[in-house]
């Protein structure tokens, strides 16, 4: 099973390796825009919790960017492979288990999320952010990448057209990128909306990352919530892989 996970991962790694230069360059664009607009532009005049707004939003940007990259690295290629290219059949015909496929795919999506987060962290330092990065930070980041890579897998298995996939992005990921404690603390939102926001995984990611960066207590609860999301999405993913044959 480990070998099969590696095989699934290996294929994606091969493709990534071929495009690594382009991958890194394109991943730098949106974080630079965020850092310029919110860090330099808007942020100059804002103070949050006695710190600079730049320091405040860097964890938020990392959370939302790792979400987008992890989700889209799995979601859109897998959806295309299932619906248009039919390359998913190559895996379905092979003597490997659905679990191996799911884990391999999610891991490779998470790797892309992590790489792009690393780029942001380096950029953020270049922009003059002060951040405390430790092992808990890395754990929270990995969990966030896994949450959204596995969500991407589920979406790719459920959505039947490329357009639906784009809609999923618009209706689920886009609102999360703005609402889930990425650019502001959601304490002042109307109660119902706040509950909803606190239920969403990205809120926990931004909360955990920000807590760790500012040197607060380890946000164990948020990490557990993220782990629960990963388990749920992977479970649904395996179930969908089995169901695809009915």
């Amino acid at each position: 099973m480990l070998y099969d996970i590696w095989t699934v991962f290996w294929r994606d790694w091969l493709v990534l390796k071929r495009r690594i230069g382009r991958f890194i360059l394109s991943r730098m664009v949106s974080p630079i825009l965020y850092l310029v607009a919110f860090g330099w532009g808007l942020g100059r005049s804002i103070q949050v919790n006695q710190g600079s707004y730049l320091d405040f939003i860097v964890p938020g940007i990392i959370a939302l960017n790792s979400m987008n990259i992890s989700f889209n690295s799995v979601g859109s290629p897998l959806n295309m492979s299932r619906v248009y290219h039919k390359t998913l059949e190559e895996y379905l015909i092979a003597p490997i288990s659905s679990i191996s496929f799911v884990i391999g795919k999610v891991a490779s999506g998470a790797l892309r999320g992590l790489l792009s987060s690393l780029i942001i962290i380096l950029l953020a330092f270049a922009f003059g952010a002060h951040a405390l990065i430790n092992i808990w930070f890395a754990i929270a980041l990995v969990l966030n990448c896994l949450v959204f890579a596995s969500m991407g897998l589920v979406a790719a298995m459920v959505m039947n057209t490329h357009e639906d996939m784009a809609n999923f992005n618009t209706y689920v990921l886009l609102p999360m990128s703005f609402l889930c404690a990425t650019f502001f603390i959601p304490d002042h939102l109307p109660t119902v909306l706040r509950w909803l926001v606190e239920f969403l995984p990205l809120t926990h990611a931004s909360h955990a990352l920000r807590g760790i960066v500012s040197g607060g207590e380890t946000p164990v609860f948020s990490l557990l919530i993220m782990a629960a999301y990963i388990a749920a999405f992977c479970g649904i993913g395996v179930w969908l892989m089995e169901k695809v044959r009915e």
Binding site: H85, I93, A94, P95, R245
Partner: protein, 279 residues
């Protein structure tokens, strides 16, 4: 080698395959014929473990599909109707991925990849991107991929659709060559001459049901060995005769242009299914 008993597949209310039973022996090239929508592809998808049957029993290489799916997957090779190569990879990488998915040892795998690329005459293009390949090259690469792990049964779903006649003939030679090496081949086609050329036995399906199963020769002889074909206001008409003299005597009574020829599988197909198919 392949044993299907009372197999049915329903998609909701629609029955794609209705109570199909057949046996295919080791080393046989078996053709599945039928008009579009007859249930050929569904049958192949179920036999290749891509779809599960609604009812019935399927045994391949002595193993029950319902219990030993993984074993069956390891002894079958599949060439689907559509091109499903990974276009982000080179031919070599496509084959390597397949070899890894089938748990081949690196040394054996590399050797097989080299052999098969030579076999399908793609060794010079091994490290180009698949995206740039023509239809014939892709089809050949898909055959190489299906054979990489030395399967015992090969499934070909419309293997020569959209290919040039030359490429098509080469593929036929290739399939015959594989049969001589003891491989069992199940292919679907709606090119009648392809079935006639390649298959020891053919089954004709229509609307999900098996309506005939025999050698191409026997199916033709059911109608009579000779056919007289002529056209009138209503269209082309054909009449079959067991004897050549009888056929030519009949042809002489007609005033229009007539053709006297041997009965072929297409005649059998049309008589049985009542429709003309492309090809």
């Amino acid at each position: 080698m392949i044993h299907i008993e009372n197999f049915s597949k329903k998609f909701g209310e629609r029955t794609a395959v209705d109570n199909l039973s057949l046996k295919i022996a080791k080393g046989e090239i078996f053709g599945l014929l039928g008009p579009n929508g007859a249930g050929k592809t569904t049958t192949i998808r179920v036999l290749t473990m891509l779809t599960r049957p609604t009812a019935g029993r399927i045994v391949i290489d002595g193993r029950e599909a319902s219990h030993q799916e993984q074993h069956i997957k390891s002894v079958i090779g599949v060439v689907p109707q559509h091109f499903n190569l990974d276009s982000d990879l080179t031919p070599w990488e496509n084959l390597e991925l397949h070899g890894r998915l089938h748990h081949m040892m690196p040394q054996v795998r590399n050797q097989r990849i080299e052999e098969l690329l030579k076999f399908v005459e793609l060794e010079d293009r091994a490290h180009e991107m698949v995206q740039k390949f023509s239809g014939g090259m892709k089809r050949r690469l898909m055959i190489a991929r299906a054979l990489l792990h030395q399967p015992k049964v090969l499934f070909l779903d419309e293997p020569t659709v959209g290919l040039d006649p030359q490429v098509r003939r080469r593929l036929w030679d290739l399939i015959r060559h594989l049969k001589n090496e003891g491989l069992t081949v199940l292919l679907t086609t709606h090119y009648i001459e392809e079935a006639e050329n390649l298959c020891q036995r053919v089954a004709i399906m229509e609307k999900g049901k098996l309506i005939a199963i025999d050698t191409p020769m026997a199916l033709c002889q059911r109608l009579g060995s000779y056919a007289v074909e002529w056209a009138d206001e209503e269209g082309t008409k054909t009449k079959f005769f067991a004897d050549r003299n009888e056929a030519s005597a009949f042809a002489a009574t007609l005033v229009t242009t007539t053709t006297l020829r041997q009965t072929n599988l297409e005649d059998a197909f049309v008589e049985l299914t009542g429709r003309k198919v492309a090809g």
